[in-house]
Symmetry: C2
Subunit: 143 residues, 2 copies
DNA sequence: AGATTAAAAGACATTTTTATCCTTTATATG
DNA sequence: CATATAAAGGATAAAAATGTCTTTTAATCT
């Protein structure tokens, strides 16, 4: 569905959303342990997310990662797009160049609506929306 | 979404569904050209599909691949499962072991319904259903 | 039986994804 | 300013996905 890297990215962002703030930054290694994401690989992902203004970071002592008020408004789709690229979720089920309502592939209408809705959900919902779910008791950390 | 290999598999099966029959078998190379799938790789995929009774095959002169009346009833999900495994489409968006209605992850309800519907469509629709779409003019071959 | 055909099977090569390690740069603090 | 800290960046490694090539097996046809 989405890549492992994207799942790592979402988890890391959620961890920051719940646990960090501008005056309580968190180190990559301290995200790595509870989420069970390999530290060095997570660092690469956070670097990429930082470059795209999905997370905020500060170097040096007292530094680390956190989410700004802006960051919290990031749509989930943006995280996935930055890590997996534009096409993974939206491309045609048969990889046809032109597949749309006028020129649909044989699978287009079959899965089309649900796929479009799926993507729409990811575009409309933000990191902050998931935080609400977490506060209602839904866990995102491995057992 | 689904792997390239799965897209190859669906395309190859559709090509056979439209063009082959038990007394008009088709060679791997003759599926390869119109679908633009690398011949040797396609052969591997067809081999796997044959092993799982998704396509039928006969060796030797006059042999090749075709779809039996049984094969045509294959649900699309089965093709994807054989190539991509069980988890790619159905696993939790955050890869949690236990993610369901009772123990939902923060993304579960957000994308849950559309994802479930998506999978359900693939489970309920068969190769034969797509053939109907193709006969209504929907193309599955690259430009 | 011998020759030919075409899928099955196995070995190997390339590319992409995932993962690790080491060096550099920015920031803070004594 | 020197030193410690932590992310950024670059180089490298391992694993998985994709792709190619060669040999083997099964079927057909003289």
């Amino acid at each position: 569905m989405i890549s492992n890297s994207s799942k790592y990215a979402v988890k890391a962002v959620l961890y920051l959303a719940v646990n960090s703030s501008e005056d309580h930054k968190i180190l990559a290694k301290d995200i790595s342990r509870p989420t069970n994401i390999p530290k060095a690989y997570l660092s690469k992902i956070l670097q990429e997310l930082s470059k795209h203004n999905i997370v905020s970071s500060v170097r040096g002592p007292g530094g680390g990662f956190y989410l700004s008020d802006e960051n919290i408004k990031t749509p989930l789709m943006k995280i996935i797009q930055v890590i997996d690229g534009d096409n993974r979720l939206t491309s045609c089920m048969l990889s046809l160049q032109e597949c749309n309502a006028e020129h649909p592939c044989p699978m287009h209408d079959l899965v089309g609506n649900t796929k479009v809705n799926f993507v729409k959900n990811l575009e409309q919902n933000t990191v902050g929306d998931l935080v609400k779910n977490i506060k209602m008791g839904k866990s995102f950390l491995p057992l």
